[in-house]
């Protein structure tokens, strides 16, 4: 859309290329593992959350979803209870979990658009609420004993070397998401609302409904993430999503989404996800510990914002 944004994606691509070269120099295993695509396997879930987070932020009005990790945890527990303790067919349980995810999004979105409360605080409240509910429902313990046959397809198989959850969940989610955002009325409405909600209201957009649906979509994606996790690891944990919220925001912002809304693309988020995956994988191969990876991500985030605030004219600080 704007030159700065195009830059952002070019910058990300360049960074990815540099990181790939650097990583393959640092570690001889980086390239010859043969399946670079499987890099994304670990990022599939966080990718889904970042996708939802991007949409919520794009919708403007201070939109942000801090509860997205807790939503994943709660959905994970719900799924476990339904599939294991309730003895439901896992596919049916998955379907019901999606419904629960959507309802949780409705709680967030309803409070935010209905009562016009600041998203940061509402989702901070539900961050505590949902994760605690997950703990209470599961008694804090993880739930396992899933029916292995069939259901583990999502998390445990791969097609032509590409993990199923990447090929059939993550990539389709982004492709559909990008299509919706760029080619449909809904997507266009989201950008309108994020760009100038007053103007959007005057061209006939139901601002509240659009924003509400963004929170519902984000939570539903978190529910998908919960199902993928459950199928992949064959257990459901009340802490499955702890800490993911900040990572998801980081990736969305790194991908070029302005925290004030209206600017950003899913392709940017995807590239940011890719960059993070390459960095994490490469650093792990090089024997650099996980905590250092977190720090590097923080540094990349700040530097990318610095580049951004220079290229843009006086962005208001929140």
């Amino acid at each position: 859309m704007s030159a700065a944004l195009r830059d952002r994606r070019v910058v990300l691509l360049a960074l990815i290329a540099v990181a790939m070269v650097a990583m393959s120099l640092i570690s001889p295993y980086f390239l010859n593992t043969g399946n670079l695509l499987s890099l994304l396997q670990y990022s599939a879930v966080i990718g889904l959350l970042a996708l939802g987070q991007t949409l919520v932020i794009l919708g403007g009005g201070g939109g942000i979803d801090l509860s997205i990790g807790s939503t994943l945890s709660l959905c994970s527990v719900v799924f476990g209870l339904l599939a294991v303790n309730g003895g439901l067919n896992p596919w049916l349980a998955a379907l019901l979990t999606l419904v629960v995810g959507a309802l949780l999004g409705l709680v967030n979105g309803g409070l935010i658009t209905g009562l016009q409360l600041p998203p940061l605080i509402v989702t901070l409240g539900t961050l505590y609420l949902f994760s605690s509910a997950a703990n209470v429902l599961s008694d804090g313990v993880d739930i396992n004993g899933f029916d292995r046959a069939g259901f583990s397809t999502i998390g445990q198989t791969s097609i032509a070397g590409v993990p199923f959850q990447v090929l059939c969940v993550l990539i389709p989610a982004f492709v559909i998401g990008a299509f919706v955002m760029q080619r449909t009325v809904f997507g266009r409405r989201v950008y309108q609302v994020g760009s100038n909600e007053r103007a959007a209201g005057l061209v006939g957009v139901d601002v509240k409904r659009i924003r509400l649906s963004l929170y519902v979509i984000a939570s539903t994606l978190a529910a998908v993430g919960a199902i993928v996790t459950a199928s992949w690891l064959l257990n459901a944990r009340p802490t499955a999503g702890t800490g993911f919220e900040l990572q998801a925001i980081t990736i969305a912002v790194l991908g070029g989404t302005a925290i004030t809304g209206g600017t950003g693309r899913l392709s940017g988020t995807f590239l940011a996800l890719l960059l993070v995956a390459v960095l994490n994988s490469g650093l792990q191969l090089a024997g650099v510990g996980s905590t250092y990876q977190i720090g590097l991500l923080g540094a990349v985030l700040i530097v990318s914002m610095l580049v951004r605030s220079r290229s843009q004219t006086a962005q208001p600080a929140l």
Binding site: S38, G140, N235, R237, G289, Q293
Partner: protein, 322 residues
């Protein structure tokens, strides 16, 4: 854990590793606790002894998904054998199966994944023995009667839950006059453990003892008893490494801490991994060069047992550097 000081050596050596040396690795539960440093120290000693290369890594926070990522990553780096201390007993299973299929020997160590395809579980001591020992320690200090509390780590840690079950079983069997109060308190960090301990002491003024389960809770509980001026009134024991418990063993705030020799566990794990790479079978009783006691192996469960739990007290903690 893959920290800075090992980093340079491992990256330097990994190039040489392509020349055919045996390379083994261990995935800890989390980076950043002294316990796994002790493990690392023992493991490095064994690596030198047996001429293999050793590397250790772990997630930044207690996160099972991250463990899977690290294990898969190590597999793709072409390690010959890898041990892991799984955070939960199931999520790692499919990765273990895949690794075994790729010809990488996988052992569990420190914690088990019983339903997985792991080749062996290197056990520090059985959960039953650990739980029973800690209960014995507590009962010893309190004279076998009174109220006690348990402060655990995150609720979904299988290892902690197994120890707690064993401790409660031991209490039921041996110490009928000991009463668990306040339920099991789950905590995430030292500060929270401290608060929980204080609150327990407030809610139950006659509290006779506290068991601090995770190593993060140990200093918190020790500190709480110290600040509450209840040294000698409330007995504290738990599963902390001796260095973590040191100040409190010294001051008497903790009567003892129950663990095993983690360095030996690291040592034994590397030895076991080396055996797996060589293709050697374990005997029912194994002489391990460098360990004083022989190590037993249970063919049926595939468990290699280091031995009895160790009890660390003010007298002996200084001998251990973890």
């Amino acid at each position: 854990s893959g920290c800075s000081e090992t980093q340079s050596s491992t990256t330097g050596e990994s190039a040489a590793a392509n020349d055919g040396g045996t390379r083994v690795a261990f995935v800890s539960q989390v980076e950043g606790i002294p316990y796994f440093n002790g493990f690392d120290a023992g493991a490095q000693r064994a690596a030198e002894e047996f001429g293999v290369e050793y590397e250790q890594a772990g997630p930044a926070t207690v996160d099972a998904t991250e463990q899977v990522r690290i294990l898969d990553n190590l597999v793709s780096q072409g390690f010959d054998a890898i041990a892991i201390s799984p955070l939960d007993p199931t999520s790692i299973n499919s990765s273990i199966t895949r690794a075994q299929d790729d010809g990488v020997q996988i052992a569990t160590s420190d914690a088990d994944a019983p339903d997985s395809d792991r080749s062996v579980f290197v056990s520090q001591a059985s959960d039953e023995q650990l739980g029973a020992t800690v209960m014995d320690q507590l009962a010893d200090a309190t004279g076998g009667t009174g109220q006690y509390g348990i402060i655990s780590g995150s609720a979904d840690s299988a290892t902690f839950n197994a120890w707690i079950d064993a401790a409660e079983a031991q209490a039921a069997a041996e110490y009928p006059d000991m009463e668990l109060v306040g339920g099991i308190r789950y905590t995430t960090d030292t500060a929270q453990a401290l608060e929980e301990a204080q609150n327990l002491m407030t809610a139950y003024p006659d509290l006779a003892g506290i068991i601090a389960v995770p190593s993060t809770a140990v200093p918190g509980v020790g500190q709480a008893v110290t600040t509450a001026d209840k040294i000698g009134t409330v007995a504290v024991t738990g599963f902390g490494s001796p260095q973590t418990a040191a100040p409190f063993l010294e001051s008497g705030a903790m009567t003892s801490t129950v663990l095993w020799n983690v360095e030996d566990l690291g040592y034994l794990t590397v030895w076991a991994l080396a055996q797996l790479v060589e293709g050697n079978e374990f005997a029912a009783e194994n002489e391990v060069p460098g360990l004083d006691e022989p190590v037993t192996y249970d063919e049926a469960t595939g468990i290699l047992l280091l031995g009895e739990p160790s009890v660390f007290t003010a007298e002996n903690y200084a001998d251990y550097d973890f």
